[in-house]
């Protein structure tokens, strides 16, 4: 006699167990969500379905700068109005950030603040004169535990797992502004107006997109430049100007997880502060005052 029902069920059961063993062992080694993320290569199940099962076929560009956790150090005493303005202007120019005068509608990726706004709670009336006037360059802190990412209902804003940059996927932003409410640093702006109305055609950088009315935007740690092997534009400009003025670099960029990186060396030498550390978002931008 061939295979009867009893035998068939036995074989089917055993082979199911065998086939499931490898992924099961894999799954037990990590938590279920991590396991699912690994299977989907950073995509949601609906995205995989949308792509009919295709995962992106790209490669990381060979020239790209990589790190486990990108971080920036702002050495405030090396900054002055000129450097701060040069950083702001360069950043806004290459990223097509519109120049909107109305403060209710303005868009900014990087800007200068006074001490008491940059590091609230640390300020008192007798701080030294240099710090009183110093431009504290502030931007998105690319937090290690970003509040904006937790609240985003569409995963339009997300933390890149491989290097910690908090990015925005403009294709997904629905403009709900939860992230703006969540961000304790005011690093995000909403496009109340069509940004192209405030960006003359000759001022546009044709290599970078603009945004459209109804989306939120913020600093992207120059992800597009890192992919080409360049450091963020503000850091590059600030370092050039500091070199010209014979100062230590005002902005330093590097891998926080690499003990020999420039940021780690600078942090080892100086006492540094982070913005609103009590909120537990773990900012990756450090301030040396």
């Amino acid at each position: 006699m061939g295979v009867n029902r009893r035998k068939f069920l036995k074989i089917a059961g055993i082979s199911t167990l065998g086939a499931a063993a490898v992924p099961a062992a894999d799954a037990l080694a990590m938590n279920p969500i991590e396991w699912l993320d690994k299977q989907l290569g950073g995509f949601t199940p609906s995205e995989i379905l949308l792509h009919m099962g295709h995962k992106p076929t790209g490669l990381k560009p060979r020239e790209a700068l990589t790190a486990k956790r990108w971080a920036m150090v702002v050495n405030v005493r090396q900054l002055d109005e000129e450097i701060a303005e040069a950083c702001r202007e360069t950043c806004h120019k290459i990223h097509n950030v519109p120049d909107i005068k109305n403060p209710k509608h303005e868009i900014k990726w990087i800007w200068a603040e006074h001490y008491e706004h940059a590091l609230p709670g640390q300020h008192h009336e007798h701080i030294d004169d240099v710090l009183k006037e110093a431009p504290f360059l502030v931007m998105c802190n690319h937090c290690y535990d970003p509040a904006c990412v937790r609240v985003c209902p569409t995963k339009a804003t997300f933390k890149r797992e491989h290097d910690g940059i908090v990015l925005m996927d403009m294709h997904r932003c629905i403009g709900c502004r939860f992230c703006m409410a969540a961000c304790p640093f005011g690093a995000r702006n909403f496009n109340w107006k069509d940004p192209r109305l405030f960006l003359k055609e000759e001022d546009q950088n044709p290599e970078f997109p603009t945004r459209m009315k109804g989306v939120v935007e913020k600093c992207n740690f120059c992800a597009e430049r890192l992919a080409k092997g360049q450091i963020p534009a503000c850091v590059e400009v600030a370092q050039e100007l500091c070199k010209k003025k014979g100062r230590e670099p005002a902005l330093v960029f590097g891998d926080l997880e690499d003990p020999d990186s420039e940021v780690r060396q600078v942090l080892r030498r100086h006492h540094s502060l982070r913005r609103k550390p009590e909120l537990g978002t773990n900012p990756n931008v450090y301030y040396i005052v």
Binding site: P56, L59, K60, A223
Partner: protein
């Protein structure tokens, strides 16, 4: 049938109106759009047939690949690597340098309105000038 004549006349007039788009344009099909292919570059990232039917899926994969997982290099079937970028690769001066002569031709014909250009900047094109008026 009460008022039969009026009803039948009404139906006939109604039918004429309903079928108006069919017989009015009969035999006068709008010409199929002709896209202008790049002059210099002859090789796209995939075959012409694939691009004709699947360019939207390809671009969708590209954008997710670039934005979400930072995999920005596309390896074409012939091994060439391309920077996955609508603005900088597809629409570069070497390739589809004129949106109005490439994308728009088919999209207008088929009534497709992709929102790429709400954010992505199409290449600059000179305003259309009539050559005979130039002199």
């Amino acid at each position: 049938m009460y008022d039969g004549g009026k009803i039948i006349a009404g139906i006939i007039i109604g039918l004429i109106f309903l079928t108006f788009p069919i017989w009015f344009t009969h035999g006068k099909a709008v010409k199929r759009p002709e896209v202008k292919l790049p002059e210099k570059e002859k090789q796209c990232v995939q075959s012409r047939e694939y691009m004709k039917t699947n360019h939207m899926q390809l671009l969708d994969l590209w954008r997710d690949s670039v934005v979400r997982v930072a995999q920005r290099s596309y390896v074409a079937p012939n091994g060439t690597k391309y920077d996955m970028s609508l603005q900088n690769t597809c629409m570069s001066t070497e390739c589809h340098a004129k949106k109005t002569e490439f994308c728009d031709r088919c999209h207008d014909y088929t009534g497709v309105v992709p929102y790429c250009w709400d954010c992505h900047i199409p290449p600059k094109e000179e305003p259309k000038e009539k050559p005979e008026e130039m002199h």
